[in-house]
Symmetry: C2
Subunit: 106 residues, 2 copies
Amino acid sequence: MPDYLGEFEQLVLLALARLGDDAYGVTVRDTLAARAGRRASFGAIYSTLRRLEAKGLVRSKLGDPEAVRGGRAKKYVMLTTRGRAALREAQAAFARMAEGVPGLLR
Amino acid sequence: MPDYLGEFEQLVLLALARLGDDAYGVTVRDTLAARAGRRASFGAIYSTLRRLEAKGLVRSKLGDPEAVRGGRAKKYVMLTTRGRAALREAQAAFARMAEGVPGLLR
DNA sequence: CTTGATTTATTGTGCATTGTGCAATATATA
DNA sequence: TATATATTGCACAATGCACAATAAATCAAG
């Protein structure tokens, strides 16, 4: 198991951080599309969430079904402490690399 | 060929942007170690550079050998316009995802 | 009411792409 | 021939990705 987060893993973790309590497959996908401009399939998203959970960077909790058509129980996902730390460090590494480099406008 | 840059690809491109004229295998490796804290093998670096060049994100030019022991010609590498644009967009996607999220201190 | 259609949600799976390092090779000076 | 710097050639592991299948809910005939 490597120490580093992949690019898509980082995007998914950022989506979780952003979504807080309302993070599950569909909202993660929508957030990625809306903010990152990234149209990912559910397969991509759920596979990644599964791997992140296996690494202990994310945990999940099954919600209650809702009384609407198709209201199957959602699997809510959230960052663990380790997950938040890993994300922070990965983003910090990018920031250190980009710091002071002209033409990148962060 | 995917549209998106991997995590290590982005780090390497950032190293190139930072190094400017003096980017080749060894300096890229040193920059990654010094700024990102990432100790990558030369195999990792050269493979990635090769793939980035195949995608047209990077170009290279063989330098002149130097009159020092082991002064074999270096292969200098630089970002193409497309490479710089791809890097900028990839970093911007992260920035948009991270924008306004507490606990990430960018 | 009960059975199939429809809707939201997640899982299973296989393959493509990226990440990684070891060993080999190339090319210079000593 | 030895030694130092630099690059290449693999082989394999990890991540990225989407299609199809499955699950679990409500709706709507008949």
